[in-house]
Amino acid sequence: MNMQMDWIWGLVGGLLIGSGGAVFLLVNGRIMGASGLIGALVDGTAGRTKSERAAFLAGVALLPILLRPFFSGVESHLTEDMTVLIVAGLLVGLGTRLANGCTSGHGVCGMSRLSIRGFVATACYILAGGASVLLFRHILGVI
Protein backbone atom coordinates (compact mmCIF):
# COMPACT_ATOMS: atom_id res chain seq x y z
CA MET A 1 0.00 0.00 0.00
CA ASN A 2 1.30 3.46 -0.81
CA MET A 3 1.18 6.26 1.68
CA GLN A 4 -1.88 8.09 0.28
CA MET A 5 -3.87 4.85 0.45
CA ASP A 6 -2.73 4.44 4.06
CA TRP A 7 -4.09 7.89 4.87
CA ILE A 8 -7.43 7.12 3.20
CA TRP A 9 -7.72 3.83 5.12
CA GLY A 10 -6.71 5.75 8.23
CA LEU A 11 -9.58 8.17 7.70
CA VAL A 12 -12.06 5.37 6.90
CA GLY A 13 -10.93 3.42 9.97
CA GLY A 14 -11.12 6.56 12.09
CA LEU A 15 -14.72 7.15 10.99
CA LEU A 16 -15.56 3.54 11.93
CA ILE A 17 -13.91 4.00 15.34
CA GLY A 18 -15.84 7.22 15.94
CA SER A 19 -19.08 5.57 14.80
CA GLY A 20 -18.51 2.77 17.31
CA GLY A 21 -18.00 5.40 20.01
CA ALA A 22 -21.16 7.22 18.91
CA VAL A 23 -23.25 4.02 19.11
CA PHE A 24 -21.83 3.14 22.53
CA LEU A 25 -22.53 6.66 23.83
CA LEU A 26 -25.98 7.28 22.37
CA VAL A 27 -27.43 3.76 22.65
CA ASN A 28 -25.70 2.36 25.74
CA GLY A 29 -24.87 5.65 27.46
CA ARG A 30 -21.24 4.65 27.84
CA ILE A 31 -17.87 6.18 26.97
CA MET A 32 -15.79 4.05 24.61
CA GLY A 33 -12.48 3.91 26.46
CA ALA A 34 -10.58 0.69 25.84
CA SER A 35 -8.38 0.84 28.95
CA GLY A 36 -11.36 1.47 31.25
CA LEU A 37 -13.49 -1.21 29.62
CA ILE A 38 -10.69 -3.77 30.05
CA GLY A 39 -9.29 -2.50 33.35
CA ALA A 40 -12.51 -2.65 35.34
CA LEU A 41 -12.83 -6.33 34.40
CA VAL A 42 -9.50 -7.17 36.05
CA ASP A 43 -9.53 -4.83 39.08
CA GLY A 44 -12.99 -5.89 40.21
CA THR A 45 -14.78 -2.57 39.68
CA ALA A 46 -16.95 -3.68 36.74
CA GLY A 47 -19.93 -4.72 38.91
CA ARG A 48 -23.06 -5.28 36.83
CA THR A 49 -21.44 -3.97 33.64
CA LYS A 50 -19.25 -7.08 33.19
CA SER A 51 -21.30 -8.63 30.38
CA GLU A 52 -21.63 -5.30 28.52
CA ARG A 53 -17.84 -4.82 28.65
CA ALA A 54 -17.22 -8.41 27.54
CA ALA A 55 -19.67 -8.04 24.62
CA PHE A 56 -17.90 -4.86 23.49
CA LEU A 57 -14.44 -6.45 23.71
CA ALA A 58 -15.67 -9.56 21.86
CA GLY A 59 -16.71 -7.29 18.97
CA VAL A 60 -13.31 -5.57 19.00
CA ALA A 61 -11.48 -8.91 18.81
CA LEU A 62 -13.80 -10.56 16.28
CA LEU A 63 -14.04 -8.02 13.45
CA PRO A 64 -10.31 -7.94 12.62
CA ILE A 65 -10.41 -11.75 12.31
CA LEU A 66 -13.33 -11.50 9.86
CA LEU A 67 -11.73 -8.68 7.86
CA ARG A 68 -8.26 -10.11 7.70
CA PRO A 69 -8.76 -12.26 4.55
CA PHE A 70 -9.58 -9.04 2.61
CA PHE A 71 -6.54 -7.11 3.87
CA SER A 72 -3.57 -9.30 3.11
CA GLY A 73 -1.16 -6.37 3.40
CA VAL A 74 -1.85 -5.63 7.08
CA GLU A 75 0.89 -6.87 9.37
CA SER A 76 1.63 -6.52 13.07
CA HIS A 77 5.41 -5.82 13.08
CA LEU A 78 5.28 -6.44 16.84
CA THR A 79 8.66 -6.86 18.49
CA GLU A 80 9.70 -10.35 19.63
CA ASP A 81 11.90 -8.93 22.40
CA MET A 82 10.36 -10.33 25.60
CA THR A 83 11.79 -7.59 27.82
CA VAL A 84 10.33 -4.86 25.62
CA LEU A 85 6.95 -6.63 25.44
CA ILE A 86 6.73 -7.04 29.21
CA VAL A 87 8.01 -3.58 30.18
CA ALA A 88 5.85 -1.85 27.56
CA GLY A 89 2.77 -3.88 28.55
CA LEU A 90 3.20 -3.05 32.24
CA LEU A 91 3.64 0.66 31.47
CA VAL A 92 0.60 0.78 29.18
CA GLY A 93 -1.60 -1.08 31.70
CA LEU A 94 -0.49 0.90 34.76
CA GLY A 95 -0.32 4.27 33.00
CA THR A 96 -3.72 4.14 31.31
CA ARG A 97 -5.47 3.13 34.53
CA LEU A 98 -3.68 5.80 36.61
CA ALA A 99 -4.64 8.40 34.00
CA ASN A 100 -8.13 6.87 33.74
CA GLY A 101 -7.97 6.70 29.96
CA CYS A 102 -5.96 6.01 26.83
CA THR A 103 -6.04 6.88 23.13
CA SER A 104 -9.75 6.03 22.79
CA GLY A 105 -11.06 7.40 26.10
CA HIS A 106 -8.98 10.56 26.47
CA GLY A 107 -8.07 10.96 22.79
CA VAL A 108 -11.20 10.17 20.78
CA CYS A 109 -13.98 10.53 23.38
CA GLY A 110 -12.37 13.22 25.57
CA MET A 111 -11.08 15.63 22.95
CA SER A 112 -14.29 15.37 20.89
CA ARG A 113 -16.22 16.80 23.89
CA LEU A 114 -13.48 19.41 24.47
CA SER A 115 -12.49 17.87 27.82
CA ILE A 116 -9.41 19.60 29.23
CA ARG A 117 -8.30 16.30 30.79
CA GLY A 118 -8.55 14.67 27.37
CA PHE A 119 -6.32 17.29 25.76
CA VAL A 120 -3.74 17.27 28.58
CA ALA A 121 -3.57 13.46 28.71
CA THR A 122 -3.24 13.24 24.92
CA ALA A 123 -0.46 15.83 24.86
CA CYS A 124 1.37 13.92 27.64
CA TYR A 125 1.19 10.48 26.03
CA ILE A 126 2.09 11.74 22.56
CA LEU A 127 5.09 13.72 23.87
CA ALA A 128 6.18 10.78 26.04
CA GLY A 129 5.65 8.39 23.13
CA GLY A 130 7.74 10.56 20.83
CA ALA A 131 10.47 10.82 23.46
CA SER A 132 10.31 7.06 23.99
CA VAL A 133 10.84 6.29 20.28
CA LEU A 134 13.64 8.88 20.12
CA LEU A 135 15.39 7.40 23.15
CA PHE A 136 14.90 3.68 22.56
CA ARG A 137 15.20 3.69 18.76
CA HIS A 138 17.62 6.47 17.86
CA ILE A 139 19.75 6.91 20.99
CA LEU A 140 19.85 3.46 22.64
CA GLY A 141 18.96 1.48 19.50
CA VAL A 142 16.98 -1.20 21.37
CA ILE A 143 13.73 -1.06 19.33
Partner: protein
Protein backbone atom coordinates in the same frame (compact mmCIF):
# COMPACT_ATOMS: atom_id res chain seq x y z
CA UNK B 1 -30.41 -8.31 25.36
CA UNK B 2 -30.28 -5.07 23.37
CA UNK B 3 -27.57 -3.68 25.66
CA UNK B 4 -25.22 -6.55 24.88
CA UNK B 5 -26.03 -6.49 21.17
CA UNK B 6 -25.25 -2.79 20.80
CA UNK B 7 -22.11 -3.12 22.95
CA UNK B 8 -20.99 -5.89 20.59
CA UNK B 9 -21.90 -3.74 17.55
CA UNK B 10 -20.00 -0.72 18.92
CA UNK B 11 -17.02 -2.96 19.71
CA UNK B 12 -17.20 -4.43 16.20
CA UNK B 13 -17.09 -0.96 14.61
CA UNK B 14 -14.17 -0.03 16.89
CA UNK B 15 -12.27 -3.23 16.09
CA UNK B 16 -12.94 -2.94 12.35
CA UNK B 17 -11.79 0.69 12.41
CA UNK B 18 -8.60 -0.12 14.32
CA UNK B 19 -7.81 -2.90 11.87
CA UNK B 20 -8.50 -1.16 8.53
CA UNK B 21 -6.79 2.06 9.68
CA UNK B 22 -3.58 0.13 10.36
CA UNK B 23 -3.59 0.69 14.13
CA UNK B 24 -2.90 -3.00 14.76
CA UNK B 25 0.37 -2.45 12.87
CA UNK B 26 2.87 -1.38 15.51
CA UNK B 27 5.18 0.02 12.84
CA UNK B 28 2.53 2.58 11.80
CA UNK B 29 2.01 3.74 15.39
CA UNK B 30 5.73 3.97 16.10
CA UNK B 31 6.15 5.66 12.71
CA UNK B 32 3.77 8.40 13.83
CA UNK B 33 5.71 8.93 17.04
CA UNK B 34 9.03 8.85 15.18
CA UNK B 35 9.34 12.51 14.19
CA UNK B 36 13.13 12.14 13.91
CA UNK B 37 12.87 9.14 11.58
CA UNK B 38 10.50 8.23 8.73
CA UNK B 39 7.45 10.09 10.05
CA UNK B 40 4.10 8.47 9.16
CA UNK B 41 1.08 10.82 9.50
CA UNK B 42 -1.59 8.07 9.29
CA UNK B 43 -2.50 8.22 12.98
CA UNK B 44 -3.53 11.87 12.66
CA UNK B 45 -6.06 10.85 9.97
CA UNK B 46 -7.36 8.08 12.23
CA UNK B 47 -7.74 10.42 15.20
CA UNK B 48 -9.38 13.14 13.08
CA UNK B 49 -11.73 10.63 11.44
CA UNK B 50 -12.74 9.25 14.83
CA UNK B 51 -13.26 12.62 16.51
CA UNK B 52 -15.69 13.88 13.83
CA UNK B 53 -18.57 11.39 14.48
CA UNK B 54 -17.88 11.49 18.22
CA UNK B 55 -18.19 15.29 18.30
CA UNK B 56 -21.60 14.99 16.61
CA UNK B 57 -22.59 12.25 19.07
CA UNK B 58 -21.72 14.46 22.06
CA UNK B 59 -23.88 17.28 20.61
CA UNK B 60 -26.80 14.88 20.24
CA UNK B 61 -26.18 13.52 23.74
CA UNK B 62 -26.29 17.04 25.18
CA UNK B 63 -29.92 17.39 24.03
CA UNK B 64 -31.02 14.03 25.49
CA UNK B 65 -31.97 13.06 29.03
CA UNK B 66 -30.79 9.48 28.70
CA UNK B 67 -29.32 7.04 26.20
CA UNK B 68 -31.61 5.24 23.72
CA UNK B 69 -31.79 2.18 25.99
CA UNK B 70 -32.77 4.33 28.95
CA UNK B 71 -29.45 4.21 30.75
CA UNK B 72 -28.01 7.50 32.03
CA UNK B 73 -25.61 9.45 29.81
CA UNK B 74 -22.09 10.17 31.16
CA UNK B 75 -21.80 13.16 33.53
CA UNK B 76 -19.96 16.33 32.49
CA UNK B 77 -16.20 15.74 32.30
CA UNK B 78 -14.04 16.62 35.29
CA UNK B 79 -11.55 19.43 34.72
CA UNK B 80 -9.19 18.32 37.48
CA UNK B 81 -5.61 18.06 36.24
CA UNK B 82 -3.99 15.91 38.90
CA UNK B 83 -0.73 14.02 39.24
CA UNK B 84 -2.36 10.70 38.32
CA UNK B 85 -3.49 12.07 34.94
CA UNK B 86 -0.06 13.47 34.05
CA UNK B 87 2.11 10.68 35.48
CA UNK B 88 -0.19 7.96 34.13
CA UNK B 89 -0.27 9.46 30.63
CA UNK B 90 3.52 9.83 30.58
CA UNK B 91 4.02 6.18 31.65
CA UNK B 92 1.46 5.07 29.07
CA UNK B 93 3.21 7.11 26.35
CA UNK B 94 6.60 5.54 27.11
CA UNK B 95 5.12 2.04 26.79
CA UNK B 96 3.13 3.05 23.69
CA UNK B 97 6.33 4.22 21.99
CA UNK B 98 8.30 1.14 23.09
CA UNK B 99 5.95 -1.43 21.55
CA UNK B 100 3.58 0.59 19.34
CA UNK B 101 0.50 -0.76 21.11
CA UNK B 102 -2.27 0.86 23.13
CA UNK B 103 -5.14 -1.04 24.83
CA UNK B 104 -7.70 -1.04 21.95
CA UNK B 105 -5.35 -2.50 19.32
CA UNK B 106 -4.20 -5.15 21.84
CA UNK B 107 -7.75 -6.56 21.90
CA UNK B 108 -8.13 -6.08 18.13
CA UNK B 109 -4.91 -8.08 17.59
CA UNK B 110 -5.80 -11.04 19.84
CA UNK B 111 -7.06 -13.19 16.95
CA UNK B 112 -4.44 -12.17 14.40
CA UNK B 113 -2.00 -14.91 15.37
CA UNK B 114 0.97 -13.06 16.81
CA UNK B 115 2.24 -14.77 20.00
CA UNK B 116 3.91 -11.57 21.31
CA UNK B 117 0.49 -9.95 21.75
CA UNK B 118 -0.34 -12.39 24.57
CA UNK B 119 2.88 -11.53 26.42
CA UNK B 120 2.15 -7.81 26.03
CA UNK B 121 -1.52 -8.35 26.94
CA UNK B 122 -0.70 -10.32 30.10
CA UNK B 123 1.78 -7.65 31.23
CA UNK B 124 -0.83 -4.96 30.48
CA UNK B 125 -3.44 -6.73 32.65
CA UNK B 126 -0.89 -7.01 35.50
CA UNK B 127 -0.16 -3.28 35.13
CA UNK B 128 -3.90 -2.59 35.29
CA UNK B 129 -4.22 -4.69 38.46
CA UNK B 130 -1.33 -2.77 40.05
CA UNK B 131 -2.91 0.61 39.28
CA UNK B 132 -5.33 0.79 42.25
CA UNK B 133 -2.40 0.24 44.66
CA UNK B 134 -0.23 2.90 43.01
CA UNK B 135 -3.22 5.24 42.86
CA UNK B 136 -3.88 4.98 46.60
CA UNK B 137 -0.18 5.60 47.34
CA UNK B 138 -0.20 8.73 45.16
CA UNK B 139 -3.37 9.90 46.89
CA UNK B 140 -1.76 9.47 50.33
CA UNK B 141 1.35 11.52 49.50
CA UNK B 142 -0.44 14.67 48.31
CA UNK B 143 -3.22 16.64 49.97
CA UNK B 144 -6.62 16.00 48.41
CA UNK B 145 -7.80 18.44 45.75
Amino acid sequence: MARLFFAFLAGGLFGAGLFVSGMTDTAKVQGWLDVFGAWDPTLAFVMGGAIAPMAIAWRIAARRRSAVLGTPLPPKPSSELDRKLILGSVLFGIGWGLAGLCPGPVIASLGLGNPGIYVFGAAMLIGMMLAPHVRSRLDKTVPAG
